[in-house]
Assembly symmetry: C3
Homo-oligomer: 303 residues x 3
């Protein structure tokens, strides 16, 4: 593994290796030492959570970071090409973490520089470290990845975390329920991949009747700005708000995940149920990103 650009690049064994390594880091069985290592965190789009999570992961292992947020303080302003900016930064840092609004920019970066690149989200395309921490959260709460019933709820068209997660889980014999307004359905290329792989799924417009079957309910935000017709938004929005009432009849082991930030699509009343797992899910981002950083920097550590 030289870069982490897309979940599609990872085979099942590689995913399991990362998750196992993260678990050993979290439990203190292994302590990678990144003293003297520098990761450049380049966030063209704002992202408190992902930025802090990578920053934390580096610093918890003794490493350091260089941070560039927004485009206001960059040489890009002066007309420099992205390739030149990346090449120059690769002269300073040992690894680049890149968040960009432009799909494909992480792949491009990995082709331009000689140091490892981690995709921290490229437009509506991929967000593989989020997918890996989602998998980590699933295995921690369910004890396994294989053979689970998983609902993805909300905006499945533009939600890159949903896309990465569907691809990642496909290797683990899931049963999928895709719950979304029709015009925010999962892209057809992902559905085709599932059909080819023989993964069973249902597309639905509400959660009615399926909650008792679920092991994982993965909720994403339905954004008002995605709707052309405001009345359509008002009509459907409440179908995608998770409340304790929606969770009635769920298995005790059901966990509600959300990539955060949430606005109102999971009510705060759910926070007080045993089903809520989204803040712990965010916390899981640290050991998972530690594992990825340590692997890419070639310092997997010893006990």
């Amino acid at each position: 593994m030289n870069n982490l650009i897309s979940m599609r690049d990872l085979k099942r064994a590689e995913i399991e290796s990362i998750l196992d390594f993260a678990a050993r880091i979290e439990q203190g069985d292994v302590r990678p030492d990144l003293t003297g290592k520098l990761a450049a965190l380049l966030f063209a789009e704002p992202s408190t959570r992902t930025h802090f999570s990578f920053d934390t992961a580096m610093k918890r292992m003794g490493g350091q970071t260089l941070s560039m947020s927004g485009t206001s303080s960059t040489s890009l302003q002066k007309g420099e090409s992205l390739a030149d900016t990346l090449k120059t930064i690769s002269m300073y840092a040992d690894l680049i973490v890149l968040r960009s609004a432009v799909e494909g920019s992480a792949r491009f970066a990995s082709e331009v520089v000689d140091i490892p690149v981690i995709n921290a989200g490229d437009g509506a395309n991929q967000h593989p470290t989020q997918a890996l921490l989602d998998l980590y959260s699933i295995i921690k709460t369910q004890g396994r990845l294989d053979g689970l019933s998983i609902a993805l709820v909300g905006d499945l068209k533009f939600g890159r975390t949903a896309h990465s997660l569907v691809q990642a889980l496909s290797e683990f014999s899931p049963r999928f329920f895709f719950i979304s307004p029709q015009h925010l359905a999962l892209p057809s290329y992902l559905l085709e991949d599932l059909r080819e792989a023989g993964v069973p799924y249902q597309e639905l417009t509400s959660l009615d009747g399926i909650v008792p079957d679920l092991d994982i309910m993965y909720v994403t935000r339905v954004q008002r700005e995605r709707f052309v017709d405001p009345e359509e938004y008002e009509r459907v929005k409440n179908s995608y708000v998770i409340t304790p009432a929606v969770l009635e009849g769920a298995q005790p082991t059901l966990r509600v995940l959300h990539p955060l930030p949430r606005v109102n699509e999971v009510s705060t009343a759910v926070d007080r149920t045993t089903h809520a797992y989204y803040f712990q899910q965010a916390a899981n981002g640290v050991p998972v990103r530690q594992a990825i950083l340590a692997k890419l920097l070639g310092t997997e550590g010893t006990k």
Copy 2:
């Protein structure tokens, strides 16, 4: 001590314990080791001085920081609640330092998260680490906190550093002089507290005649924007500008303090007198914040 939100929460013995610990840190008698510790510095309002001071304090002890400045790069932009932002950050960091324009937000934060919170200024309300470094500066220059004559000069209505300092000093038998334009006088709830505690004070509109009595002159800025009537501002502003002439007749041990930044309310000519202490006061912020951070992180260190 689990949080530091308001000076009102601190008893005299706790204040003395913090100041004593800071002195031992400054003198090198104790070296708290914060290696592996992470403080999140969340500054919704800009503050070079306070931000740098906390950043310095963490790093001088081997700790690290996560920094978020302004609101532009935060999930708050995406509609996330402050509670969710704070809960998420508490998954990454060991402690939160919060500066906010909204009164009460630090108290709110301490109720929402399970890690220690330090109030680094919440609107016009409190700024307890500033009050503690002010006390530290007073004890360093006067040799004691008890029984001093202290003038607070300038905008006493909106100046949160003045509010925190008045509360903090009340425990130490002070004699107060409050010098301000009438409509920028100290809030009545603070005056009531003083009367109840039997602390003597005088409210005045100028320093005339009292300078020889003073041990400490604490100056704050009179901001033009606080005046409805520009002519009123022009008429009073020079009553609150400290020059060497104003300091004639002062005791040699009088020290002029100012929370900084200053605009023109202390003339630079005062910098060259022995009474000037505001830059050293800023420097004192580092050991005081080291003491607070180390106490809250449970690593008070050993010699």
Copy 3:
């Protein structure tokens, strides 16, 4: 050496001492330890490259940084004087790195504070650490500094890196070619200095005929905004774009340098020739800045 403000302050022996120290750091012969040291990086103007380079240099030696970018988050907004801001920051940090749009501000800073100041660019005036890394790049590629034929190409009027480099090289018996549009020629005060020092130079408006003579071609950007007449810009711009064709007939040892960021004044086709050295030049900034920081912080290290 207490500060680094201008190349004019450095004697030949001091320059050689810095470059030699940088080489020993790069080769791992000496490892300065800056653990516990704090450098404040104050960048009033954006500069990814220089900021990252200093940040990297500090962190590679175990040191830490305090960063302030732009003026939006500073007390300057509140009307504080630059002197007060600098004095206060000097209470926290061990050294100040200052980038400013205002010529002379680094010199001013060094007079106001009691800690070392490094000029990281003050308007069109000086950028001495850039000049030193340029010298370091020249000695690394040519094996010597003395007696080289050097062309400076592009905007020589406003390019502070060109100014600092001309001054720095003057001590090393160079032969200069200054290639620029007439109204962007090197300032006359620099030409006078060269004449007084007996340094041979030619002022030209194109590279025609001189390429085979060159050891170093130092290219800077010709910015459209420097031209009053857009037609004049269109007419001359291609005279200052370096392509593989321009380099035909060059010595194999010719190296093309550029302070970066480039826009189009060196074509990306040149990147694939052995003459390209600008990215490695950027990389050289790290050991050179390590050497300067370690010297100024009095921790030159041991093997």
